[in-house]
Symmetry: C2
Subunit: 188 residues, 2 copies
């Protein structure tokens, strides 16, 4: 195997998810993931700190994309609508790559308190990035943080819905989730 | 020292917070905390799994109290108002015991990513407990989860405000925070 390994990260992700689907997350070792992807264990550790991180490999790129879409948002949009729009667009981009694995990923995370915690931390980091982006443009810190956290809550619920029915329109799921949140926070 | 150590947990908490205030969280060892509290290291580990947990010692009792206040809430209250009421009452009880240490605790947690993560997990557990309590009574799961998460967000912000001015009325801080969240989620 040469030193140049095209798309090693992506191949490792696909290999890992396929193995998790076949045999369950806890049973699969890093060595097996590397073997299935046709790379060395060392290459695995060049891309991921541990097995757990494979499940969250898309998070930094997703966060960057959300921030980029926010920067392009119409200044006339309210913070919450801008954040929901950015998460809808970035989510739609992301989910296209995860159709096959969405269900196994959700089940793996739901079954492990440790992975659930890791997911919480990633979502908190995402909310913080959205807060910083909103804060610069238009809002007081606290209002920005509240809008960002609400938008991430909406996204998490819509993403769960989507993993249960990957034929659904993500945009429609986001709007339903937002409507539900608004009613919960401000019942009339 | 006899085997019977009255209020060992509380004494350990106070000793720990006093030492954190004097010398900084990272510098203080478990042995020093135990010594200051007049107990053995073994007694420390009977009460806490590690130094970090001392900062969150009140969390389970707080969670129980929130759930109890929710059970007493008027059935006519909306979920979000019931959750905010329960957090306000339990928060008021709790904060009375933390006036001296609120500021050092906030600074210690803010300075450590690891403690920040632990705090996130505690808040998520609190939101889950509130969701279960609301869910039984009145709401669909998702509406209950959204109301619970929003109420915990409101509480976290009000608690931060209170640590910066411990003479403020906690009830008023909760209402201000709720008003800000409602505006952020549903701008008019």
């Amino acid at each position: 195997m040469g030193r140049w390994e095209p798309n090693a990260q992506e191949r490792l992700q696909h290999a890992a998810m396929t193995l998790f689907l076949e045999r369950g997350y806890t049973e699969v070792t890093v060595a097996e993931i590397a073997e299935r992807a046709g790379v060395t264990k060392r290459t695995f550790f060049n891309h991921f700190t541990d097995k757990r991180e494979v499940l969250f490999a898309g998070a930094p790129a997703f966060e960057d994309r959300v921030v980029q879409y926010l920067a392009e948002a119409d200044d006339g949009l309210d913070a919450i609508d801008a954040a929901v729009m950015a998460l809808t667009r970035a989510g739609t981009d992301l989910l296209a790559n995860y159709v096959e694995y969405a269900d196994v990923r959700r089940k793996v995370i739901a079954a492990s308190p440790e992975l659930h915690e890791r997911n919480l931390i990633k979502m908190s980091s995402l909310a913080a990035a959205i807060t910083r982006a909103l804060d610069t443009h238009r809002e007081s810190s606290r209002a920005a943080a509240f809008a960002a956290q609400a938008a991430v809550t909406v996204f998490t619920a819509a993403y769960d819905d989507w993993t249960e029915d990957t034929t659904a329109e993500f945009d429609a799921l986001m709007q339903e989730s937002l409507t539900c949140l608004r009613k919960a926070v401000h019942p009339i």
